[in-house]
């Protein structure tokens, strides 16, 4: 039986160990922001953080995740509150800076790819707090197993949202 930490809580999983994390999150744990896009690690709609690194949950069996820390968009406010030593309650009110920026910049069109986009941008900003346009584009195109795809092509908004998130994070850590 695989045990992992999901958004700060220990979980013992009943699903068979070869099950990709995506189906375990959605069907056993009721965590719905990782979306099914391709099942082939080609689009990024199912992205989550594992120990702070973005992975594709649609092709990652839970057997590979024993003892790991998994963060989904549901867990981003808690991740921010821990980083900022603020109360979880207030982080849930304000959401993670990336989420705030996504609302302020009205980033999504249909929005279904944006969970993966926000996960990837969170990973980026944790290691590079003020990325350039080129660094953002590279993070979302060439750094992982495939580009993070947005069929609505909301890429301009994603770029502006990322810069806005960087600003919010910088102001919060002044």
């Amino acid at each position: 039986m695989v045990t992992l930490n999901l958004n700060g809580t220990q979980k013992q999983l009943k699903s068979s160990p070869d099950t990709p994390l995506l189906y375990v999150l959605r069907n056993e744990l009721g965590v719905m922001t990782p979306k099914f896009g391709c099942g082939l690690a080609q689009c990024g709609a199912c992205s989550v953080l594992v120990d702070g690194k973005e992975i594709r949950s649609c092709v990652t069996p839970i057997s590979a995740l024993e003892g790991k820390k998994v963060t989904t968009v549901e867990g981003l406010p808690a991740r921010w509150s821990e980083l900022r030593k603020m109360s979880l309650n207030s982080a849930e009110q304000t959401l993670h800076p990336v989420q705030q920026a996504w609302i302020e910049e009205q980033v999504p069109q249909c929005g279904i790819c944006q969970f993966g986009m926000m996960i990837k941008v969170t990973e980026l900003l944790e290691s590079n707090p003020s990325p350039t346009d080129a660094e953002i584009k590279a993070a979302l195109t060439t750094s992982g197993p495939s580009p993070h795809l947005c069929r609505c092509a909301s890429y301009v908004a994603i770029l502006e949202g990322t810069h806005r998130a960087a600003k919010i994070m910088a102001e919060a850590t002044k």
Binding site: S15, S16, D18, T19, P20, Y23, R26, N27, M32, T33, K35, F36, G37, C38, G39, L40, Q42, C43, A45, T72, V73, E74, L95, Q99, W102, I103, Q106, V107, P108, Q109, C110, G111, I112, C113, Q114, F115, M118, I136, K137, A138, L140, T141, T142, S146, P147, H148, L149, C150, R151, C152, A153, S154, Y155, V156, A157, I158, L159
Partner: protein, 773 residues
């Protein structure tokens, strides 16, 4: 206070049915003629009953029902609320509830593509409602209606004031608005009559950058998307679709119960589904079943590499009648041209390709009633299709809609795929069934945006002015709304497109959808020549390559050749392509945006090709190109700046500038985001998108074999909104933006290399072979 009365409000009827001890509201509904009321399905919300469309409640809040489903472009949560709030003169925050797209709780609303027709409907409905509020105030204060005013949700007259909520409190008030049209048609109903509309100069809400209030629920993870819906006892299903678009089932694969203890196979005709309570088991079991399932062989498609030749040489274009577009003067008797441009253009099949493949959850009860949880642009048409498949009345079917991945027109005739399969499997096993198409299902078994080829013939006079323009467009039709699961199962569905098919938009014809804009040209002849869907008549299942409207349907296919040809004609005339367009349009609105485009895009005024143009070498060459379009009262102009590396065939789009005049702009913030994204979608179409297929099946099965634009390729995007509220019309949103890029990019390629390119996508392999030809 008078207690019972009926008053005419500019042709609408205001009545007070009762005085209540508590509650109270003004319900705004539509007066449907009896024949229309009969046409309505028994369980759709009767639009002639209260609680339709708009409701003013005693707590000063306003409820709005749209009949539209959220497709991510935010309009029902922003633009629609703004339009209603504006005409009612209430703060936009007071419009608290927007109910969308469930067939049992909203009036039928037509497809989502009719949003702005819907906006004019809402505008008028709200205007009637404001006039009714004035009447109620006048009655209450005992003063003439003409001396009453409204502002910020308060009605004033004489020296008295009252909030809308207090005005309706304790009363059961009804306003019935005149409408025409067919409730169940593609386009829904239209509000008629002429209630006084607020002058656009008085607007304080329309034109503001209102944010989409539902975005927080999506971003936080609270929103329930279509794929998230669960029902007790639900089974997960994966489909085992035929190996080709004409294969019949010989034998379905067997399941090894020791490997897949909870899985089962359901076979209905040629429809094969694999089900399990465990989703991962369903996926693995479906793979095992697919490997063991035998299908008949079929070859009946030309293959995408031979498609252009097939269209030009193999199709009998005389078989079906042509449709005329703009026809003026006489292209055949015009004086002999000083110069002519004559060329053929090609537009490939493309996929809607939503990021998440289609998914539906159906619950068919033992009494035969169906609840279908899905994501559809046209829930009402889907309801009728499902009822037809089951041989049940529409009253047995309820469609619930949820947010989902945008699929750009694929479900505007009801279905996007998977809905009917979920229903059939649920009926078969007696449990709720969730059908999730995998990526290859969604690429191979959905409809495609149709291919097209065009012959353009332009004659220039001695001064380099266009004296004749002749366009002949050839291609299959744009709309096949058959339920594919029903076709595979051999169950009733509407027919494939034929010349006499009267269902929805299935009639087999090819309209000239690109509005003619070069009014200065005296001799114009445009025709659309249709043919049957490719492979459909050859397929034993009558399937073949099914077509469906997608973003700017058919107009994109026809605007691309027109605008590329106009740029080539400008070069022939030795004129700058923007100047050449200015010479040939009469519309002052086009002249204004073209002049603005020249400034905003950093345009170099000169003829094409560029003096630095080069078709060989490893060094980058740069070019500029322009395109224009008129669509749904929206005037659009686009400039593309590209960099081409001739030796590698790489085309990079460096900058896209769009200037548009849409008359009244309801929400500049949402419009800018829609146009930026729509335009980039089009850049991806121009550079990458082509549905590949062999002789039996679509071979673009995932994002490797059907690449779309990536973040890395995102050019600089400049969107300039040249609003003209005094025009008094609503032009349309982002749909046009996606079609503008391709012809501008192709023209920029010509400018850069001196070689015309007359097809998309501009893939390196096509570019290289064209440059070396």
């Amino acid at each position: 206070m008078r207690t019972v009365d009926t008053v005419s409000i500019h042709g609408a009827n205001l009545s007070r049915r009762a005085v209540l001890s508590g509650g109270g509201a003004l319900f705004v509904s539509l007066g449907a003629a009896p024949s229309l009321a009969l046409a309505a399905s028994a369980n759709s919300l009767d639009p002639a009953k209260p609680a339709s469309w708009i409701e003013i409640r005693q707590d000063d809040t306003i409820l709005m029902r749209t009949g539209k489903c959220d497709f991510g472009q935010s309009s029902i949560f922003t633009a629609y609320r703004q339009i209603v709030a504006e005409e009612l003169s209430v703060p936009v925050e007071k419009v608290t509830t927007v109910i969308s797209g469930d067939t049992d709780t909203t009036p039928d609303g037509g497809g989502t593509f009719g949003l702005l027709r819907g906006a004019q409907n809402l505008r008028k409905a709200a205007a009637y409602t404001r006039e009714a509020i004035l009447e109620l105030g006048a009655q209450k204060f005992g003063v003439a209606r003409s001396s009453m005013t409204v502002s910020d949700g308060i009605v004033s007259g004489g020296d008295k004031t009252e909030s809308y909520g207090k005005l309706v409190a304790g009363q059961d008030l009804h306003l019935t608005i005149p409408v025409r049209g067919d409730l169940t048609s593609f386009f829904g109903l239209q509000v008629t009559g002429d209630p006084p509309l607020k002058p656009t100069t008085a607007y304080t809400i329309v034109g503001q950058p209102v944010k989409n209030p539902i975005l927080r629920t999506k971003i936080s993870g609270e929103a329930v998307w279509v794929g998230d819906v669960k029902l007790p006892g639900m089974l997960h299903a994966r489909m085992v679709h035929p190996t080709t678009l004409g294969s019949k089932l010989i034998s379905a694969g067997k399941l090894d119960p020791s490997k897949f203890p909870k899985a089962q196979v359901v076979v209905i005709g040629n429809l094969v589904g694999v089900l399990s309570e465990d989703e991962w088991e369903a996926i693995k079991a479906a793979r095992a079943v697919a490997a063991d399932t035998k299908w008949s062989e079929w070859k009946g498609l030309p293959g995408h590499q031979k498609l252009y030749d097939h269209l030009r040489e193999k199709v009998n274009w005389e078989e079906l009648p042509a449709t005329k577009g703009a026809m003026q003067g006489n292209v055949t008797t015009a004086p002999t041209a000083a110069k002519t441009h004559q060329a053929s253009y090609f537009f490939p099949y493309m996929k809607h390709a939503p990021i998440s493949p289609t998914v539906s959850l159906a619950d068919v009860k033992s009494d035969g009633t169906v609840t279908l949880h899905t994501h559809s642009q046209n829930p009402q048409f889907l309801r009728s299709s499902i009822a037809k498949m089951l041989g049940k009345p529409e009253s047995a079917v309820v469609i619930r809609t949820y947010p989902g991945a945008s699929h750009f027109g694929r479900s505007n005739g009801g279905n996007a795929g998977s809905e009917d399969e979920a229903v059939l499997l649920s009926r078969s096993v007696g449990k709720p069934v969730r059908v999730q198409w995998m990526r290859p299902d969604d690429m191979q078994w959905s409809t495609s945006s149709p291919t097209s080829t065009s012959k353009i013939n332009i004659g220039l006079d001695a001064q380099g002015k266009m004296q004749t323009y002749q366009a002949d467009h050839y291609g299959p039709p744009m709309q096949d709304d058959r339920l594919i699961g029903a076709v595979l199962a051999g169950l009733p569905t509407i027919g494939a497109p034929t010349p006499d098919n009267g269902n929805g938009l299935q009639k087999l014809s090819l309209n000239v959808a690109d509005r003619w804009v070069y009014d200065v040209v005296t001799n114009v002849a445009e025709q659309g020549h249709p043919t049957y869907q490719i492979g459909q008549r050859e397929s034993p299942l009558a399937i073949g390559l099914r077509d469906h409207s997608m973003r700017t349907p058919i107009q994109f296919q026809q605007n691309f050749p027109r605008e590329v040809a106009i740029s080539e004609a400008a070069a022939l005339a030795g004129r700058d392509p923007i100047e050449f367009r200015l010479d040939h349009v009469k519309s002052e609105r086009f002249k204004t945006i073209l002049s603005r485009l020249r400034k905003e895009s950093g345009w170099e005024t000169r003829s094409s090709p560029s003096p630095k143009a080069r078709a060989t070498g490893a060094e980058v060459v740069r070019g500029q190109g322009v395109s224009i379009m008129l669509r749904d009262q929206g005037y659009w102009a686009c400039a593309a700046h590209v960099a081409v590396t001739p030796d590698s065939g790489q085309v990079k789009v460096e900058r896209i500038t769009i200037v548009m005049d849409l008359g009244i702009v309801v929400n500049p913030l949402q419009l800018k985001r829609q146009v930026e994204a729509g335009c980039l979608f089009g850049v991806g179409q121009a550079l990458h998108e082509e549905a590949a297929f062999d002789e039996g099946a679509i071979t673009s099965v995932n994002w490797r074999s059907y690449p779309i634009l990536t973040m890395q390729e995102t050019p600089e995007v400049r969107v300039v909104i040249a609003a003209r509220p005094e025009i008094g019309e609503y032009g349309q949103g982002s749909e046009s933006a996606n079609a503008l890029a391709a012809p501008a990019i192709a023209a920029a390629f010509f400018d850069a290399t001196g070689k015309p390119i007359r097809r998309i996508p501009l893939k390196p392999e096509y570019v290289k072979s064209m440059l070396s030809a």
